[in-house]
Symmetry: C2
């Protein structure tokens, strides 16, 4: 168990601000604790003699053996809340749950109060939930330290939510369904404890089968990725991240004041963290139910057993929509199905046991397909008929699932009343919905989690690079007047082993000639100025410059730059080896810094593919080799690098290595706010970075 | 009312095959009719004296005033079913419902039986439902002419299903919800009456608010598009078309023996028909509920009123996912919200009335936003709190919705029991779900149907073309040894006014020289052979041929073709005006014939866009100008035609006209099985078809 285990399994809890005033938060918490908590409850309130039968102490330190209290719930007015938390720390208590609102979410004064709270927590090494939290719950000890109305039922789901209201909604809804919880935490403003802390705790908790989260932001993305990767090796994490859309993100920002960050970064970060994302509340709990109830599949093949052709087709469509396949039965299976089923039955997948099938016929069909090694999962789809007894069928399905330990989902397409088939399935951990698509979607989540669990997160490779030289370039750049660098910073790439054309930035025609001579043959010449972003547009780039024209071209480029902007800072002219563009494909490799997840690396094919199709992919840096390779798979235009339309395939290993090296560079230098290698020409014999744009953050 | 009105509102029904044998279909139908039908029921069965208290007639013509019977339900063994239907027709009855199975779905003998049934129906002008149907229902007269267990509740949904089992499932499920039906038809094998007939009937039925369908195929796509377009001007049609995915399509084919056709054709056809497609059963009924309960919105702006920030953000995400926008409130609205709500409330959209809001505060907020002209729809999202009474809130929401006649959906995020708020909302036609995403998705369906209802389906323009010349070319082609034509058929395009380069197919070097001279300047020369598909690959195309080289090039091309395939049929060499490819963008315009929807027209940009990105769009021909323009909008790469990356925009009008002309051509000549204009070069000064491939179907 993790550090927070006493928070969820306390023996003694104190309510600071306990009261019996009608309608108050303090009363609700005290009442909830008295209702079901199996440990001691103490009340602290200097203005009250007693509250709901408990005698009130003036201060928390007045409680006998105050240091032995496991959790203090703080429900006092905002102006005295920080002091109350200090008293908790002073008393030697380790966990505080601050339900008081009026902190960061109100801005100004509240934000200052939240900083104070954070300092106090640090001073006393105090684990603080909230502030602005609904509280916490844990079912094994009947702990309800919230001011909500409903206590959770016992179960294997641990749930954290950045919205307290959503916790009350979920509890109310779950109370009528077979949804039980281990622990619940309303995260509030996450001043001290955040999603990573709870994920770590529940990952170490043997009684938590699934971790669910409703999140509006992730405070420290890198920390979350690290923690979640470890936890998801054993325990699935499913998250609704709200503020996914532009509209949602700005609503989230105005609601919590949280910097929501970009959806693209969350998508990359949560995927790399091994977190399953649910798009809606329904999906969140559908996933939780099947992940806590069913084993993981050994493959992606689904067998469908149904008594109706039409619903069988709908179910097959759902399999096609998911990342699953329809299992191909072995000859043995088909032969056996042929023996046990009537002639008119369909022995191919989806298996149609026909409308006159009683539960026993479903049973033999299910048993037969579960025995097939090609079947990793099964879904039983039953329409109501005069002959099929749903209760009997539910028992059959539950027994066969237990026997074969193969994941099964159900769609009993009928009314819910009159039989207790749902209960039978639910007790067996088998989800059942009217809509077969939901059943299949649940199986898809199992399969996706199986993929996550079998991931091996390789450490990003550290290449042997010239870090000192890169450091010099970055530092020099940070001292310059402008923080934007162009082709003059190509050495940075060179220092990290990313191939660049031979060349130098020169500041006179004679030197230009010398460099051109060293390179030999025709060269490319580009004006170098932080004030000129689109060099080509002003005639600032000349390709195929013959040796005898180098001097004149130098002068021409300078003149054009001056004509464009008289006071432009000119850093010189780059004289560069000519690269055969036709032999390769232009790609773009970029990075930028996300407030939550840190350095991100972006890859795509140049030109229309990035500009019109926005066909790019993103990863949190540093990336491992496997992740870099994955980036290529993510991009729709990658076939163009692999010989589509008669081209020669490019050197993918070189491209993958360059992605890793660039990711190492930006991970090493957080001061690099943005870096675009554009184009990075990918050719059959390797890659070459032709140009770059770089922005340095002087404040980091 | 349509032709089928007596089918659903009969006064007298006869059951052919009525019986009281336990577990028989004939008994179930007779019992169901006796249970609730408000008219007369007659029994026909030569082997029985009586059935369930009805005396049995030997033949249907023995029933008194047999010609006055409105509907005969035929439930006899398959070998006598066609004769029974003949007797029905002979008696002068207009409607037969054939529940007997063992027809087309069993192949062989059954298929022959189905052909016989169709002939009998035609002979007697008989409306036949089925065979292999569960039967029909209609609630106003209590008509249950099915062998299912459950009778539908009364309501405004008329529902057709190609799966009988799905009808029983839906009825069982709907019985516990507030879902009522007007008519239900189990379509069975659709030997005579098909989806178009029922759509037409219900479109003319004032008591049908929404038409729902579960379809595995559409028999006559063109007929369905015509009918549905008319009906959807007044009555929404929502369809689950199963067999959407490859896996689903092959499952459907094996289940019904139906040719499922391509999903791309269905997507285009159903969209052009104005049909809303639901992806799942849940969506089908969610759409039905809101379409039958709420008015159509006057715009796409959604107002959200909630008592909880987090769920407000989730709802905003759902708006972002849908084709809707978050309404921007007027200054007046914001000022008024500022007056009526507490200071901490959010007066911007989503409106947060705060966790301590009673129903009255929701009410003033809702009233204020509904008054705003920018608000076309509203969704009320409520989390359970100590102060909000869901029942009171439901009344409030229902009243305001009725007052403003603005569509409203609700997400009351709590338990369902203990209050009857759901009933209140349901009676007001306001859908309510735990998950706010479902509520928003319903509003999206309303908005989409509003767009459909306001469509104006222009007649496709008929251009003045040389149809006789085209007809000659097609006929000549059909007489040839091979049915594949290439560039030699360019005249076909010319006859329909599609610009082609000047040129001719010649069969000797001298003639080649003559044609080149007429054209003037350099020409393009291509070998013409039905046996050589990829001319460029074998050196069969020469561009930029100077006048003096035309003779030699002719010989070279013929030699290369012979080297490639000694016995290839050579039709000659095309000598063509050179077209500046760089000035334009290569597009592809293709057609093919779909078994359900007939001629389809496809458009996309050439090269990687079609081959790698599959960035194409499809329409059922003939297309109107508006539809042709729409095709351009559908394609992601269209910006490349409109000046992306510094290109000059192409002549869109010319491209749109060419799409229409090609669509007219294939609509005029059903014998054209496939036609690809590739490339069609689109340039700023017009379009030019450079090459084509054509396949003629000799059998049509």
């Amino acid at each position: 168990m993790g550090r927070l285990s006493t928070l969820f399994a306390p023996s003694r809890v104190a309510v600071v601000g306990a009261t019996d005033s009608d309608g108050s938060v303090g009363r609700a918490i005290t009442r909830n604790l008295l209702d079901s908590f199996e440990g001691e409850v103490h009340a602290v309130n200097p203005y009250k003699e007693s509250a709901l039968g408990l005698s009130c102490h003036d201060e928390i330190c007045d409680v006998e053996d105050a240091g032995g209290i496991d959790v203090a719930v703080v429900a006092v007015p905002p102006d005295v809340a920080v002091d109350a938390v200090r008293d908790v720390g002073e008393a030697g208590i380790e966990n505080a749950v601050v339900v008081t609102a009026g902190f960061g979410e109100t801005g100004g004064e509240g934000a200052a109060r939240e900083r104070d709270l954070r300092e106090v927590a640090e001073e006393y090494d105090l684990d603080v939930v909230g502030p602005n939290s609904l509280g916490v719950m844990s079912t094994p000890r009947g702990l309800n330290a919230t001011f909500g109305d409903v206590m959770a039922r016992e179960g294997g789901i641990s749930f954290m939510s950045q919205s307290g209201a959503f916790v009350t909604a979920v509890l109310d809804w779950a109370a009528e369904r077979d949804v039980g919880f281990k622990d619940i935490a309303s995260l509030g403003n996450k001043a001290v404890l955040d999603e990573s802390d709870f994920v770590a705790e529940w990952g170490a908790d043997p009684d938590t089968d699934v971790i669910l989260g409703y999140l509006e932001d992730v405070g420290d993305g890198a920390e979350f990725v690290r923690t979640a990767r470890e936890v998801t090796q054993d325990t699935p994490i499913v998250v609704v991240k709200s503020g996914r859309t532009d509209a949602g993100a700005s609503a989230a920002a105005s609601h919590t004041g949280a910097m929501a960050g970009s959806e693209a970064a969350y998508e990359a970060g949560l995927e790399q963290a091994g977190v399953l994302r649910a798009e809606s509340v329904q999906e969140l709990f559908d996933y939780a139910q099947i992940l806590s109830g069913q084993p993981l599949p050994d493959g992606d093949g689904v067998a469908i057993v149904t008594n109706a052709g039409g619903p069988g087709v709908m179910t097959t469509d759902a399999v096609g929509d998911a990342d699953l396949s329809l299992a191909e039965f072995t000859e043995d299976t088909k032969a056996r199905l042929g023996e046990v089923l009537p002639d008119e039955a369909n022995i191919y997948n989806p298996v149609d046991v026909l409308g006159d099938a009683p539960a026993e016929r479903f049973d033999v069909a299910l048993e037969t397909v579960l025995r097939d090694d090609n079947v990793a999962m099964a879904v039983v789809v039953a329409c109501p008929t005069a002959v099929v007894d749903f209760e009997e069928l539910a028992e059959t399905v539950a027994e066969r699932q237990a026997e074969f330990e193969t994941p099964v989902a159900a769609s009993f397409m009928g009314g819910e009343s009159g039989t207790n088939y749902r209960e039978i399935l639910s007790e067996a951990g088998i989800p059942s919905y009217f809509d077969p698509a939901r059943a299949v979607n649940g199986l898809d989540a199992l399969h996706r989690y199986d993929e996550i669990q079998s991931r091996e997160y390789a450490e990003p490779e550290r290449f042997d690079v010239d870090r000192d030289r890169a450091s010099d370039i970055v530092e020099r750049a940070a001292r310059r007047e402008t923080n934007r660098l162009g082709v003059e910073a190509m050495d940075l790439l060179d220092a990290y082993g990313i191939p660049t054309p031979e060349g130098e930035v020169v500041d006179g025609p004679a030197e230009a000639e010398r460099v051109a001579e060293e390179i030999g043959g025709e060269v490319v010449m580009k004006i170098v100025s932080p004030d000129i972003l689109h060099k080509s547009d002003i005639g600032g780039v000349e390709v195929g410059v013959a040796p005898e024209d180098v001097r004149d071209t130098y002068e021409d480029l300078v003149v054009r730059a001056r004509e464009y902007q008289r006071d432009a800072t000119l850093l010189g002219v780059q004289v560069q080896e000519a690269v055969d563009l036709d032999a390769g494909t232009e790609t773009i490799l970029g990075t930028n810094r996300d407030p939550q997840f840190g350095q991100l690396v972006l890859f795509g094919l140049g030109g229309v593919f990035v500009e019109v199709f926005e066909d790019t992919t993103l990863r949190v840096a540093p990336v491992s080799e496997a992740e870099a390779r994955d980036m290529l798979e993510d991009v729709d235009s990658t076939p163009l690098l692999r010989g589509a339309r008669g081209r020669e395939p490019i050197d993918e290993d070189a491209l993958v290595e360059t992605i890793q090296r660039l990711s190492q560079l930006v991970a090493d230098f957080p001061a690099i706010a943005e870096l675009d290698v554009n184009p990075l020409v990918a050719a059959p014999d390797g890659v070459t970075a032709l140009d770059l744009q770089l922005t340095i953050d002087r404040n980091s």
